[in-house]
């Protein structure tokens, strides 16, 4: 969080929405809810009346005549008899009456009941909307009371260049990963899905990071699939730093990013990361990339070179490469430390995790990274 102060603006939420204002707004919305509730109760009362009337109209023609007490004025009744029990004069509204039989009357009443039901529905929907609004206002009010600040950062273009070098670095990890990864056919499948996701993401994020994504896609085509995945992995590390601490496997990760993750749950772990990487939020990435930049830049000048190194190392000696990638990964925390608050803890976790990390458990480094970034 601290690094954002350097390049962004920090506005206290209280200056934008004073506490009293937020509370006032919440109160107004709540009043509106109360009004709607009253209306809802009224309509419900009508519906109950209507149902009673339907029952009565149903029952009346069962007998030829009924003995009743006829109201006479306001205070008096006298005994009388209802005859013609199947003839109703129904008020249609606006002073119009129609002569109807019991059955026809019931039909009319039921139509009215339906229109009232729809009124109830719309009122309920209205109340729901208003409640959401009220909870929002209340949340704002409490946040303001807590002294929350809004942090804004501009998206910096240099990202894309750094992103490349970053991906270059990532490729180094590839063989290490690749040892445990399944055959190429599966990769192709995953690639296709990833591309799709990337497109989706691009559209969703208004093309903010299109340069970067495009490049990484291009890389993938030329490079080993392992490289691609690892790259994405790394990206996901970088971008998803917002994830909570302490989780070391991707399942948890999936859970913590529910919204974005939902659609990809069926995909393999690596894919998961890949898609995550694609989804990265610009802001997070920005910070990250900055911190990662130096390390990555130094080993590899361009994205082409890393690619080569990846391939060769893979064919020659996977173990060695994995060793190397390990080192470079370890270098990560060091560069990041200048920013992150709780690196101390997380880096410790990370080192322990990395010691047990095997090729197939590539996900672990990622989440470790995330923790440490937190």
């Amino acid at each position: 969080m601290e690094e954002s102060v350097k390049k962004g603006t920090v506005t206290s939420l209280a200056s934008l929405f004073p506490v009293e204002e937020a509370q006032k707004a919440a109160k107004r919305v709540e009043d509106a809810i109360a009004d709607n509730r009253g209306e809802l109760d009224r309509v419900r009362g009508f519906i109950a009346d209507n149902n009673n009337l339907v029952n009565l109209v149903h029952k009346l023609p069962e007998e030829l005549s009924h003995d009743i007490m006829v109201p006479f004025g306001k205070a008096a009744f006298f005994p009388g008899r209802l005859i013609h029990t199947n003839e109703f004069l129904v008020l249609l509204g606006e002073g119009y009456y129609a002569e109807r039989t019991s059955k026809q009357t019931v039909e009319i009443l039921q139509r009215r009941g339906k229109s009232m039901d729809s009124q109830v529905d719309s009122l309920e929907a209205n109340i729901k909307d208003l409640e959401a609004e009220a909870s929002f206002f209340n949340a704002t009010a409490s946040q303001v009371a807590e002294g929350l600040v809004e942090i804004r950062e501009d998206y910096v273009e240099e990202d894309s260049i750094e992103g490349e070098s970053e991906s270059g670095k990532l490729q180094q990890d590839a063989p290490h990963l690749g040892n445990a990864t399944p055959n190429d056919g599966e990769y192709e499948r995953m690639l296709a899905i990833m591309d799709e996701l990337e497109k989706e993401e691009l559209a969703a994020e208004s093309g903010n990071q299109s340069d970067e994504n495009d490049e990484s896609t291009g890389d993938d085509d030329e490079m080993s699939y392992q490289g691609h995945i690892d790259n994405n992995l790394q990206n996901s590390k970088d971008f998803r730093q917002s994830a909570p601490l302490g989780q070391t496997n991707d399942k948890i990760k999936r859970a913590e990013l529910p919204e974005k993750q939902h659609r990809k749950e069926d995909i393999t772990d690596q894919l998961n990361f890949a898609s995550l990487g694609v989804q990265s939020t610009v802001r997070e990435r920005e910070k990250l990339v900055e911190s990662i930049y130096p390390i990555e830049k130094i080993p590899f000048g361009s994205k082409e070179k890393p690619a080569q190194s990846t391939i060769t190392s893979k064919t020659e000696d996977p173990h060695q490469t994995s060793q190397r990638s390990f080192d470079s990964r370890k270098a990560f925390p060091g560069s990041i430390i200048e920013h992150a608050e709780n690196i101390e803890r997380s880096s410790r976790e990370q080192s322990s995790a990395s010691s047990q990390g095997s090729g197939s458990q590539s996900s672990k480094p990622v989440s470790r990274f995330k923790m440490q970034r937190r």
């Binding site: 509204g93 002073g95 129609a98 002569e99 009319i108 139509r111 009215r112």
Partner: protein
Amino acid sequence: MSSSNLRDLQRELENKANDLSKLQKEIAKNHQMRKKYTIQLGENELVLKELDLLKEDANVYKLIGPVLVKQDLAEANANVRKRIEYISAELKRLDATVQDLEEKQNSKKDTILKLQQRIQSLQSGKGKA
């Protein structure tokens, strides 16, 4: 000199504020009328629907004052349609007036704001002097 000026301004402000409150009252009245007409429109539409569902030989009555007057179904139907037309036209008219009134209200608010600012600046000027 400036004190009389200030008094003038304050009187003007008062007048404008009165005008504004009058406008607001009118707007509220219009809104109420509008609500009433909307309800009537809904009721008439309901009646029309029911009348459409009636068979041609059905007896239809119209309550006029204290008596029920028998009416032809076709006649009743035409009457209701006409009434709906009238109400719709009335609603449109009310919408237009409300919009007009709201525009007036906004301009009044602006002028009042300006007046207030002027008074404030005059007062602060006086305070310095």
